[in-house]
């Protein structure tokens, strides 16, 4: 409090659900917006039910992974199955600048909260919807999980071992990415509002946003008709060798090594003690190394596997080679880089437990964000209904009793 963050004064009503939508709210909150996630005990967001729970005690306000991925959002509880609750949500929207949802197309309309209706109540409102495949088009009602959304972008077809089939990425990589991207969309719309006074509807298709990542392979298809497929950890455009992760000493320890330039190659050869194999004619040019990349990787692996990943990364860096340990989840809290940058931090939750979450994953030199613990359901009800919407104590109690505010 007291510190001025760049989006101070912007209020967001976040109807986002599960992961992508809540991350959009979280991002805007890190940047200073006042964000209220609209949710309900009537149908608890499934991510609140995910273990592990703080101190091992289950409860919708104790899910640790949920708190990490949502921290920053506030929470207002409204049972949107009830018309009165929808009316209150409408009041909240009228008092907001930005509305976010990641329902399927048409859901906000059915709740009486669609853009055409809301713009009549608040002409400069910005309403951002982020369904899987956008608000219209033949696939508008496609059902996907965040886990599989990438399949309809072409991205999944590129993941896997060389010459093998696609290997599924085991979690919704696209969810937090789309959430952060949607926050960018919201800020561009805010900028337009500042320039012109106009609000607008933002049709944010997660498919289209995430498909931007396949740009390089898309261009190869356009220019050469080539349909890319899995190639392990080789460079996406085949312009570097060696370029992969290599085994190190220990169980499931690996090092990433990427060699683009002649000086990096010379550094690697020197770090290895200039073994004869590395001085072979076929490896003397980048072109040769790329043409013989399988053999090169196999020979390099025989050397790396004799070394500890961290020590080897240090040694290779000393020789100017781009190398870094491949971290597992257990390494993240101890890794010197993340410790130094305070990537993860412990916060005190209002229910009295401490929890480890992530904070400002981008460092702002002037406006580092405030990091708050994950929200309890309805923690901001008093403030929103009494202070922002000016509701009487009597009515507020009545609505709580009748589980409209719930």
């Amino acid at each position: 409090m007291g510190k001025i963050l760049p989006l101070k004064g912007i209020r967001v009503a976040n109807f986002g659900w599960v992961w992508a939508g809540p991350v959009a709210g979280q991002t805007l909150a890190f940047l200073g917006a006042e964000v209220f996630k609209v949710e309900s005990r009537q149908r608890i967001d499934m991510t609140r039910t995910l273990p592990p729970f703080a101190e091992g005690k289950p409860g919708p306000d104790r899910s640790l992974s949920n708190h990490a991925s949502w921290a920053g959002n506030g929470s207002v509880s409204l049972n949107l199955k009830e018309q009165e609750a929808c009316d209150l949500a409408r009041d909240l929207i009228v008092h907001s600048d930005v509305v976010v949802d990641n329902f399927g197309p048409g859901v906000m309309d059915r709740l009486g909260l669609g853009y055409e209706r809301m713009r009549r109540a608040k002409p400069d409102i910005i309403m951002l919807s982020m369904p899987a495949a956008g608000l219209y088009g033949p696939l508008e009602h496609v059902r996907t999980y965040g886990l599989s959304l990438t399949s309809v972008t072409g991205l999944d077809s590129l993941v896997g071992y060389k010459k093998g089939g696609p290997v599924p990425f085991e979690n919704a990589f696209s969810d937090p990415l789309a959430g952060i991207f949607a926050a960018f969309a919201a800020i561009t719309a805010l900028n337009h509002r500042r320039n012109t006074g106009q609000g607008q509807q933002v049709d944010f298709s997660q498919q289209e946003a995430v498909m931007q990542m396949v740009g390089p392979a898309y261009m190869d298809y356009l220019l050469n008709g080539r349909i890319g497929g899995p190639k392990g950890n080789e460079h996406p455009l085949g312009i570097a060798a060696p370029h992969s992760v290599f085994p190190c000493r220990g169980d499931d320890r690996w090092i990433s090594i990427a060699v683009h330039t002649e000086s990096e190659w010379a550094g690697l050869v020197s770090a290895m003690g200039e073994p004869e194999w590395a001085q072979a004619e076929r490896y003397s040019t980048l072109q040769g190394r790329i043409a013989n990349i399988d053999a090169l990787h196999a020979q390099l692996a025989e050397w790396t596997v004799q070394h500890d990943d961290r020590a080897l990364a240090e040694q290779l860096q000393h020789h100017g080679v781009a190398a870094a340990p491949v971290l597992n989840v257990g390494d993240l809290l101890q890794d010197p880089q993340y410790v130094s940058r305070k990537t993860f931090l412990e916060v005190e939750h209002p229910l009295g437990f401490r929890e480890t979450i992530y904070g400002a994953y981008i460092k702002m030199s002037r406006t580092p964000p405030d990091v708050r613990p994950g929200p309890m359901i309805g923690q901001d009800n008093d403030y929103v209904f009494r202070e922002i919407l000016g509701m009487s104590e009597e009515r507020y109690r009545d609505l709580v009793e009748r589980k409209i505010i719930y």
Partner: protein, 413 residues
């Protein structure tokens, strides 16, 4: 400096009209970040060293014949930008660059910190040139911390995030990246978001600032940390990759079919019933071991072999259409060609054609999101090397043609 310069961005309109951006980056992260500004109407000037952005040498090239003006990577990440050259290693070049900084609202760069120091262009010097400047620096490891001095690329950043060890690859085999520059793109998008907020709130917060993006950290926190850090902190326990989509529920994996692959997902009971119906209610599906998503997961190998007998007989689109109609979130794993030719995306005008002087008329991915009142997306092709030197140095700085020629002769631009 001339105030009345016609700005490429503002002539197109767009949500970010009026914002002036310098792209001093190469390859993917900074150029894509700057493209996001340009595609929504900012006036973006790309500043290249005399030998050009490395993306010009990266391809893909038509017919695999290298040509600095025909790189697909350069084309796709540099639309809606004017391009100039500047040799910042020279004293005169650095002076020109400082002049550009005074013009700009935003500088986006992805040089390693030691490189910026070598050029005497680290943040304190940038800030001294223009205290209102928002500097978005996107590097694999960030501007601070013990690895900030490390050499690194997209690959190193991605695998430092924990994402691959946890989520991608088979147990006992090497962890995998996506087959694209996923750390670069992730960092670019996050950098654009936080950087744009810094621009939006610049007057409110009292000036410019540095937005320090570590591609590794962004993924380690918002993707991997999000789902795992609470568990590892509280219980010291963590999971690793399994090679299937989801080990605790089934079906949830990619399976081969007649003409490729499908993402086979049917976890909830209604979804499973829908899938069974589409498969013709086979008798094996009624076995006790397949009664819910947990028991199906415990018997996943058997389950997947049964389902594959069926998928092998059907095409991906047939499976997707029938299963979607039956309420299952099952999708085709689109190849790049299928993704590029999708009727859905065509109906949404996701692809745009652009005339390029060297590549001819060529398609491009359009705007990543649709703003109803202020549409965005690529319009102008990526600039040729130094294409706008005369325009920018001449009209912006008021340099005469002769001075520009002389700067060229001295290899300053």
């Amino acid at each position: 400096m001339a105030e009345s310069v016609v700005q490429a961005g503002s002539s197109r309109g767009g949500a970010l009209a009026g914002i002036k951006v310098l792209d001093f980056g190469q390859m993917v992260s900074a150029p894509y970040c700057a493209k996001l500004f340009g595609d929504y109407g900012a006036d973006v000037i790309k500043v290249e060293l005399p030998n050009g952005d490395a993306a010009r040498r990266a391809g893909p090239f038509p017919g695999d014949i290298s040509h600095p003006e025909k790189s697909g990577l350069f084309f796709i990440n540099n639309t809606n930008k004017r391009g100039i050259t500047c040799n910042v290693s020279s004293t005169a070049g650095r002076e020109l660059f400082l002049g550009l900084l005074r013009w700009a609202d935003v500088l986006i760069e992805n040089n390693l910190p030691q490189q910026m120091r070598t050029w005497n262009l680290d943040y304190p010097q940038l800030q001294a040139a223009n205290p209102n400047l928002v500097v978005i620096s996107i590097t694999p490891f960030g501007q601070s911390g013990p690895y900030s001095a490390w050499n690194g690329y997209d690959l190193n950043a991605f695998h430092l995030s924990g994402a691959s060890s946890r989520y991608c690859g088979r147990p006992g085999e090497m962890p995998l990246e996506h087959g694209t520059f996923s750390a670069d793109y992730y960092g670019a998008i996050a950098g654009a978001t936080w950087g744009m907020a810094a621009v939006y709130g610049r007057d409110l917060v009292g000036g410019g600032q540095q937005v320090d993006v570590s591609c590794a950290e962004v993924i380690a926190a918002s993707f991997v940390g999000s789902q795992n850090i609470g568990l590892v902190a509280q219980e010291g326990y963590f999971d690793k990759r399994t090679g299937v989509g989801m080990p605790l529920g089934a079906p949830a994996t990619i399976l081969p079919c007649k003409d490729g692959h499908v993402w086979m997902l049917a976890l909830e009971s209604g979804q499973w019933a829908g899938l069974c119906k589409v498969m013709g209610d086979p008798e094996w599906a009624t076995l006790e071991m397949f009664k819910d998503m947990n028991t199906r997961a415990q018997n996943a190998d058997i389950l997947y072999s049964f389902i594959q007998e069926w998928t092998a007989e059907h095409t991906k689109m047939e499976i997707m259409e029938k299963c979607q109609a039956a309420g299952c979130p099952i999708t085709a794993v689109f190849t790049i060609a299928e993704a590029a030719e999708q009727p859905h995306l065509q109906a949404r005008d996701y692809f745009v054609d652009i005339e390029h002087p060297d590549l001819g008329r060529i398609r491009n991915l359009g705007a990543p999101f649709k703003l109803s009142a202020s549409p965005g997306g690529p319009v102008e092709p990526a600039p040729r090397l130094g294409q706008h030197n005369a325009e920018v140095y001449g009209r912006l700085f008021g340099l005469q043609t002769a001075s520009i020629a002389s700067l060229q002769d001295q290899d300053v631009i």
